[in-house]
Amino acid sequence: MSITPPLEPNEGITDPKSTVENTENAIELKEVEGLSQGRIVLRRFLRHRGAMISAVVLVAVVILVTTSIGWGPIPGWWKYGYRETSDIVNAGGAPTMGFQDGGFTFGEHPFGQDNIGHDGFALVMRGTQQSLTVMFVIGLLSTTIGVLVGALAGFFRGRLDDLLMRFTDMIITIPVIMIGAILGVLVGGANPWSLAIALSLVSWTNMARLVRGQFLTLREREFVDAARVAGASNARIMFKHILPNAVGVIIVNATLLMASAILLETALSYLGFGISSPEVSLGQLINEYQTAFATRPWLFWWPGLFIVTIALCVNFIGDGLRDAFDPRQRRIPTKRALAKADARKARSQARAAARA
């Protein structure tokens, strides 16, 4: 095992002291050898088992909902549309998926049908599409608003900070669900885009506070002074120097924000203030079929399962990102990894002994 020392600082100049400098913090350097910060974060993320499984599941869900009934220009392979009705196959529209004749079969309507013959699978797919749209739009838009407000407040401080933060406080004091409900009705709930934009306008507050905190800390660091002495403008310092250093906090909170966004959308739709018929979302499906809970439970369970899956996945990914971005976090090696390293060492020693 050899560590490649950082390149010789004095190439060509023979100086015994250079070796001293090179071995400084050798352990620390070994951990980050030849990697940019982004690569380090990625590597740590890939090691996070929960987050990786969640990422795979989430990608699978996205692929499933896009290809099955088609999304915009993408054609679908599922035979029913979400607005089509067809003959009810099983008694009461029960799911056809299950074990029949000694083998597993999907049947005509794997997630079942409602009382007028809508296909459950198509409905859930469409609902998931809409809910995901709302989630991503809220994630993107409120992150942008939050970062801008937080950055301005944290960087300039003083009167601008007071103003922006009091405005933020004001929005925080109003229950999101209430303001969301009012806005949702005002902008017309049928469209997921307008609902998402309306919700973004109230859900950026947390992000703004966190980013402000980050900016307040980072602007005291010496590299900001160094940039100022180098002649950098305020905008350059904010976006080129400080923002990249806050990106960890921003990404982590954006994911957590998305997880709460999908729950918020569901809650609003369930209350009847969000996406409404004839458009479909997961929360709206649950709302619509809650009365059928006793008679046709499948209409209730499938959308619920998808909500839980998506929310869990996004939360896990956020968790993984948080761990990956936290440089202080040191992984405690597992017993197996330790045993492997010991065995490897013993082998190499044995080999060396054999050679000698």
């Binding site: 002291k17 071995t23 400084e24 352990i27 010496e222 590299f223 990894a337």
Partner: protein, 638 residues
């Protein structure tokens, strides 16, 4: 020159005593990336009661980890092998419960940073009482009485009152005293002092060292002193162990190691330590005269005659002394503005200072003296509150932001901490090229070329330009910081303690580079440092600051050899010298000086408290104002 420095009551007898700690073949490893990476190997040593063993080495040499492994304080990915017996009892392999009985009672630790090692929400007394009551069956009343007794033992002023104080109400040196009192609470057999004075000012350091010297005989504990400072080692230790890359390269008595170093690395380490007095006396031909002694007109002492490994060439004024000055301050006042009920804090109280073109002026002082404030004001990071400050002929008092940009083309700054002053998300090539790009001097291929030539200048390989700061060592980072500061070929360079965060050998090389560049570029320089020995190597003139005032300014030789002010004398006397015999003489000299200089009316303790408060007020004000710089007249004012 024999071991006369060790003829203290405990030391000769100590050899006869059985060792309190026996470490054999200690090996500490860290699990990194699926492999065990050794941090220390084959470490063996004994510590006897009343004896101080100094473990010396640079960062990454394994000196701290090998000692912390004794009491099981390794990070979760570390493990230790071998044997370490404390009074015959094996320490390695004890479980958590057994270890917690050993920690604090048999072995205790003095940490480097007393502010972070003491819990800020509890009083000092509470923390000592807690340690006592965990290990002994004591009533709260008894424990408190004992705490007061301990605080008196470490010479904390007014122990009856101090016991109820919170850590932030004490000055840095007092906090360290309280830490020591806590460490001694259970009369440990072994005391591990991990860089106990590194975070302290040189005068406070001298006091803490004095305290530790007194205590070692009183408590009769074995002391492991972990440090990188050869001066501290010379002051305190009986035996020295030098570590490098996790291995012990040399060990022996302090006398042997300092006067007859066997290993090449030890010699390098000793040579790299800036030696107060070496430059001045060599230059003036008055070799061997002791600065303090000379000033006092007393005994002539002999400075170590060991030749310096690589005598550093003296910086001198350029051949043609040009007229005009690079920096001129007249009655300069700098204030951190008050906020609400907090009154404005005056950090600089009307100073006059001139730096000629191509001249290097060293600015020294303790923390809170305002030396950094002067540096920051000179590059326009702090506004001038009164008086005048002219940099390269431009008046900085009341300057408009857009004019400041032009000023900054000719003045730049090297910051103290290279880890913080480089943007962690920018490749270093971009950091270096930023001033050139922003002043529209170079772009594209031309910029690349100039960045490469700057990297050459600071002796870094060109391939490093795409690396990120975290991939570089401390010394390499500081080279990058210097390269960035030189990008615009400034006429005035402010160097704000550029080497204080570096190891000695790295520091020696950075200082060498600095001198070389100064000769090449011929910039004027304000070199700010708390280390007189470093300032001595570089400066033509030295300015001494204390509490916002300029105490003394003069040519280097005059300040170091014939200081006029008491403050300068005390500062000079407090610097430990990496030579046990010489250090002993200096110490006695210093004690005499202090006894004579003790103010009649106020006690030294009160003065210390006042000092601590000033440093604190300073820190508070700085926090406030750094944030408020953009506030006043409008964003981007400064």
């Amino acid at each position: 020159m024999t071991t006369d420095y060790a003829t203290s009551p405990g030391a000769p007898a100590a050899d006869a005593k059985a060792p309190i700690l026996e470490v054999r073949d200690l090996r500490v490893e860290f699990f990194v990336d699926g492999e065990w990476f050794p941090a220390a190997e084959d470490v063996s040593y004994d510590v006897r009661p009343g004896e101080v063993l100094a473990i010396v080495g640079e960062s990454g040499s394994g000196k701290t980890q090998s000692s912390m492994s004794l009491i099981g304080l390794l990070p979760p990915n570390g493990r230790s092998e071998g044997s370490a017996k404390l009074a015959g009892r094996e320490l390695l392999g004890l479980n958590h419960k057994q270890l917690s009985k050993v920690r604090g009672k048999d072995v205790s630790v003095i940490f480097q940073e007393p502010m972070t090692a003491l819990n800020p929400v509890y009083t000092v007394g509470f923390q000592i009482v807690e340690t006592l009551r965990v290990h002994f069956d004591m009533t709260p009343k008894q424990a408190r009485a004992r705490a007061v007794e301990l605080l008196r033992m470490v010479d904390l002023p007014n122990p009856e009152e101090s016991v109820d104080k919170y850590p932030h109400q004490l000055s840095g040196g007092q906090r360290q005293r309280a830490m020591i009192a806590q460490a001694l609470a259970c009369e440990p057999k072994l005391l591990i002092a991990d860089e106990p004075t590194t975070a302290l000012d040189v005068t406070v350091q001298a006091e803490i060292l004095k305290l530790m010297r007194d205590l070692r005989h009183r408590v009769d504990a074995g002391i492991i002193l972990i440090t990188h400072d050869m001066g501290v080692v010379a002051d305190l230790s009986d035996r020295v162990m030098v570590m490098k890359n996790g291995r012990v390269v040399e060990s022996g008595s302090a006398d042997e190691v300092f006067n007859r170093p066997q290993h090449e690395y030890t010699r390098q380490l000793l040579d790299a330590v800036p030696h107060l007095g070496s430059e001045t006396f060599a230059a003036s031909g008055l070799n061997g005269e002791h600065p303090v002694a000379a000033a006092e007109g007393t005994a002539t002492l002999h400075v170590s005659e060991r030749p310096l490994g690589q005598p550093l060439p003296r910086p001198g004024l350029l051949d043609d002394p040009r007229t005009g000055s690079a920096l001129e301050a007249k009655g300069l006042v700098i204030e951190y503005p008050g906020r609400g009920r907090v009154p404005a804090f005056r950090a600089i109280n009307g100073i006059d200072l001139t730096i000629g073109k191509g001249e290097v002026v060293g600015l020294v002082g303790e923390s809170g003296s305002g030396k950094t404030t002067v540096g920051r004001a000179a590059v326009g990071l702090l506004p001038v509150a009164g008086g005048s400050l002219t940099v390269n002929g431009v008046e900085l008092a009341g300057i408009k932001p857009k004019d400041l940009r032009a000023v900054r083309q000719d003045v730049s700054i090297v910051f103290q901490d290279p880890g913080s002053s480089l943007n962690p998300r920018l490749p270093i090539g971009e950091s270096i090229g930023e001033p050139l790009k922003l002043h529209k001097i170079a772009s594209g291929a031309d910029l690349d070329r100039r960045v490469e030539s700057l990297l050459d200048r600071v002796h870094l390989p060109r391939a490093m330009r795409n690396r990120y700061p975290h991939e570089l060592s401390g010394g390499q980072r500081q080279r990058v910081g210097i390269a960035r500061a030189l990008a615009l070929s400034p006429k005035l360079l402010i160097a704000d303690e550029p080497t204080s965060a570096l190891d000695v050998s790295v520091q020696a090389r950075v200082l060498e580079l600095f001198q070389e560049l100064q000769r090449e570029y011929g910039f004027a320089c304000l070199f700010i440092s708390h280390d007189l020995a470093v300032v001595e190597i570089l400066s033509n003139r030295i300015a001494v600051m204390s509490k916002g005032d300029l105490v003394e300014v003069g040519p280097r030789e005059q300040i170091l050899r014939a200081p006029q002010q008491d403050y300068t004398k005390r500062l000079l006397a407090a610097v430990p010298v990496p030579n046990p015999a010489e250090q002993k003489l200096r110490r006695e000299e210093r004690d005499r000086l202090l006894a004579a200089a003790a103010p009649a009316g106020t006690s030294a303790a009160e003065a210390a408290v006042a000092d601590g408060q000033r440093v604190e007020a300073f820190e508070d004000a700085e926090q406030e104002t750094l944030g408020r710089r953009y506030q006043g007249p409008g964003p981007g004012q400064v």
